[in-house]
């Protein structure tokens, strides 16, 4: 297992490097001059030239990349053009927000998606299955921004139950923090629940018709034990992978949801940074996100070992 783990880590490093090269190159391909955006209505050519030098935008692009990656290795991800804040500081501010949203959304997704998937697989072809499918399909089809605005108008404006938007750190006021994050997490969670439900259903369908399930039933085990212990555990592998990937996506930021609920997470930061051509910020976040994604994948692979005894000896 250790060898497997080390091999995966070794593969991850060139992946991250490649991603950083791609993002750097793609940004440079974007039309538009970051300093003109930065200058806004005041375009003093002398100041612009000074800043171009200061941010080393006059260097050849490969040199710019090497400078950036060199600094990144020492933990310096540069500073934001727009706010002069160090990118590491921005990321440190945003990461807890994004993680909180990701975890809460995932709780919604798992709590709704997996039981719904199991039930609809078990009751395949019945009314319950159809209802679960229609609900899941609606969950996938309803745009986040629409559901988000509807919820704000109903829950916050009309009933005044939850804060309409924003973010409160849990350290400041734990319950208010949870309450503020409830609607966005629900909006994100329902969409993910639909995906999870569909995958759980198909994995369970495959397993439920297999021989060992029939054997388990023949042994006279209770249906509950057959479905949850024997069938579900075997169906879990693809679901774990999917959940890990979904979590990775959530870390990358839920742009629309963050925008609507004004949650200061990664998604919002990176979108604004792209529009402002704030190179250092985009680079820094993509790097952190890529690392997060790869770590989640790694964890999913590790989880297989726990779930599937056959892999442990492999």
């Amino acid at each position: 297992m250790l060898a497997f783990f080390l091999r995966r880590v070794a593969i991850a490093i060139p992946t991250i490097l490649l991603i950083s090269v791609f993002v750097f190159a793609l940004q440079k391909l974007l039309p538009g001059d970051p300093l003109l955006v930065l200058a806004g209505e005041e375009r003093d050519p002398e100041v612009l030239e000074f800043l171009r030098e200061k941010y080393r935008l006059n260097d050849p692009i490969p040199i710019q990349y090497l400078t950036w990656i060199g600094n990144a290795l020492t933990g310096d991800l540069g500073t934001s053009f727009r706010t002069n804040q160090p990118v590491t500081q921005l990321i440190a501010q945003k990461l807890p927000v994004t993680l909180q949203l990701a975890v809460m959304s995932l709780i919604f997704a798992i709590a709704i998606g997996i039981p719904a998937g199991i039930v609809s697989a078990y009751r395949k072809g019945t009314v319950t299955d159809y209802i679960a499918n229609v609900v899941a399909l609606s969950g996938l089809s309803i745009p986040n921004f629409w559901l988000g605005i509807m919820l704000i108008l109903l829950v916050s404006v009309k009933w005044q139950l939850l804060p309409a938007s924003g973010y409160v750190p849990p350290g400041e006021d734990f319950w208010l923090s949870i309450k503020t994050m409830l609607m966005p997490a629900f909006v994100l969670g329902t969409a993910l629940a639909a995906t999870l439900m569909r995958h759980t259903r198909s994995a369970m369908l495959g397993v439920l018709t297999s021989d060992y399930v029939r054997t388990a039933r023949a042994k006279g085990l209770s249906e509950r034990k057959v479905v949850l212990k024997h069938a579900f555990r075997n169906a879990l592998t693809p679901i774990v992978t999917l959940t890990a990937l979904l979590f990775g996506e959530l870390i990358a930021g839920a742009v629309l949801t963050e925008q609507i609920f004004t949650i200061p997470g990664f998604g919002k930061l990176v979108v604004d940074a792209v529009f402002n051509r704030d190179y250092a910020v985009v680079q820094g976040i993509v790097l952190v996100t890529a690392v997060g994604f790869i770590v989640m994948n790694l964890l999913a692979d590790m989880a297989y070992f726990l779930l599937n005894p056959r892999l442990r000896s492999a």
Binding site: A39, D44, L51, I149, S156, D173, T262, P264
Partner: protein
């Protein structure tokens, strides 16, 4: 740590929404760096209004009034300005404000390499400290715009102690002398300020803390106000106006902007100026202008909230040249101009516009209007950064672009249409216009300046390097408990005298 507990306490109180001394303001964007010398954004200026006092301020009618400077006199020859400063003012870090501090501030604005204020203060040759609270600004040439510049970021006074210590990182912890001091900022989430106990005019300030929350989505911003999470929002969108007005717990305040929106033509900026509407395209630009029904445009796209216009300021304002009124739509005259220019069978033009909803709608309405005159208009939508780069590089024919507006007329026009103007993306050059606008800069006699701007207008409304279309209206929506808010045409939120009743 003390700040942290304070904020925590303040936020906990705000969450219950009961305390009158806390004010929560929804902004359209997150401001950029909070250093008056380095910052560029409109929205940043809104925060400065509470954070940083200026040498002078303006009235809603754009008269310049004392703030940190109590008196000023322009010398007979216009070459210097004597200024007396307010006594007993301290910065948020306890550093006293005096003539030396003011001189240091002007020097920082002029010499800090990252400073965006250099051109605004270019006419100040030197600052002479003549007493503890008196100083003299020596000018390179008479300049009527200096006082207006000092009524904005160039005149914001920051603590010289903090400025020396922090250098270019001043924005991380800005220390000024305004009614509120900086507590904390979380990017894209909030900026928190608290009342400065030693403020010289503390009795006019009725809030203990102010929290600015950037909420870009206009619908969500309004929803936050309606749900009671915010007390005030800026830039309510025209399409949400009816909804806000229908809510009896909300008051809407408005002021016509000092800025404008219009179409800038490339008449001399590189090769692309060589097009029918470019260098020799005066008649076609006139035709295009005449074929647009500005009133209808304002009604259709902005529900009538904007003001149709044809000059740098809106009709009726102080520097509007009444002799050149907003043209009424005249398709026949436009067709005649097309024929005179040799395009009786119609002509094509490509106009670039930002890819936001409003701009797209504006362009579609204009496209339909000018088509009737035989102008076949193609819209090229560009993301803002791209559009800006293309416009500055001259890689465009015409561009739908706006300007946020300046208090002094010079700031609204000189840099756009004079030959060496800093933002002359049009590439327009006319010796007579240069002369008139330079002359208007150098006299302090308002009547004379008006005459000079009107004369420049007579040429510009013929040449039309910029076809002005409309002036935005700043819309603020306030909780009905908020009292004493005064709308200003510069779009700022001044908290002096504003209070919240229970």
């Amino acid at each position: 740590m003390k700040y942290l507990t304070l904020t925590t306490a303040a936020l906990a109180l705000m969450a219950t929404g009961a305390m009158a001394q806390d004010l929560r303001i929804g902004l359209q964007e997150d401001p950029d760096v909070l250093d008056p010398d380095q910052s560029r954004t409109f929205v940043g200026r809104i925060v400065y209004t509470a954070l940083c006092d200026k040498l002078v301020d303006i009235t809603p009618d754009l008269e310049i009034i004392p703030q940190l400077a109590t008196e000023w006199t322009v010398a007979e020859d216009g070459m210097s300005i004597d200024m007396t400063l307010r006594e007993g003012v301290v910065f948020h870090d306890g550093t006293p404000f005096n003539a030396q501090a003011a001189a240091d501030n002007i020097s920082r604005s002029q010499t800090l390499e990252e400073s965006r204020r250099k051109s605004e203060l270019a006419s100040i040759a030197s600052v002479e400290v003549t007493g503890d609270y008196t100083l003299t600004l020596n000018l390179t040439a008479p300049d009527a715009t200096v006082m207006a510049q000092l009524a904005d970021r160039a005149g914001m006074m920051i603590s010289p102690t903090a400025a020396t210590e922090a250098g270019t990182d001043f924005g991380a912890n800005p220390i000024c002398s305004g009614p509120f001091r900086f507590v904390e900022r979380i990017a894209q989430d909030r900026i928190v300020l608290e009342k400065f106990a030693d403020y010289w005019n503390a009795e006019a300030i009725n809030f203990d803390t102010v929290t600015y929350l950037p909420i870009p989505d206009t619908t969500v911003r309004l929803a936050n106000l309606q749900s009671g999470d915010l007390d005030m929002i800026e830039r309510l969108s025209a399409t949400d106006l009816a909804q806000a007005e229908a809510d009896e717990d909300i008051i809407v305040e408005r002021a016509t902007s000092l800025g404008y929106d219009g179409m800038t033509f490339n008449v001399g900026n590189g090769d692309r100026a060589d097009n029918p509407f470019g260098t020799d395209g005066k008649l076609l630009r006139q035709a295009l202008s005449l074929s647009i029904d500005r009133q209808a445009l304002s009604q259709v796209v902005f529900d009538g909230v904007t003001t149709p216009g044809n000059q740098q300021y809106s009709p009726g304002s102080n520097f509007y040249a009444a002799a050149y009124p907003v043209p009424t739509r005249d398709i026949e005259a436009a067709k005649a101009l097309l024929a005179e220019a040799g395009f009786a069978d119609g002509v094509d033009i490509e106009v670039q516009a930002p890819n936001d909803t409003d701009s797209q709608q504006v362009m579609q309405v204009i496209q339909a209007m000018v088509a009737e005159a035989g102008i076949n208009l193609t819209i090229t939508s560009k993301e803002f950064a791209t559009m800006l780069a293309d416009q500055s590089a001259g890689s465009y024919t015409a561009s739908l672009v706006g300007w946020s507006g300046r208090v002094d007329p010079d700031g609204n026009i000189h840099q756009f249409v004079t030959t060496d103007g800093g933002i002359n993306d049009s590439g327009y050059s006319n010796a007579e216009v240069d002369r008139l606008l330079n002359a208007a800069r150098q006299t302090n006699d308002t009547a004379e300046r008006k005459a000079l701007y009107a004369e420049a207008q007579s040429i510009l409304s013929e040449d039309l390097p910029i076809v002005y279309l409309w002036h935005d209206t700043w819309l603020w929506a306030l909780d009905s408990a908020i009292e004493g808010f005064v709308p200003y045409p510069d779009g700022m939120i001044r908290l002096k005298g504003v209070s919240k009743s229970e």
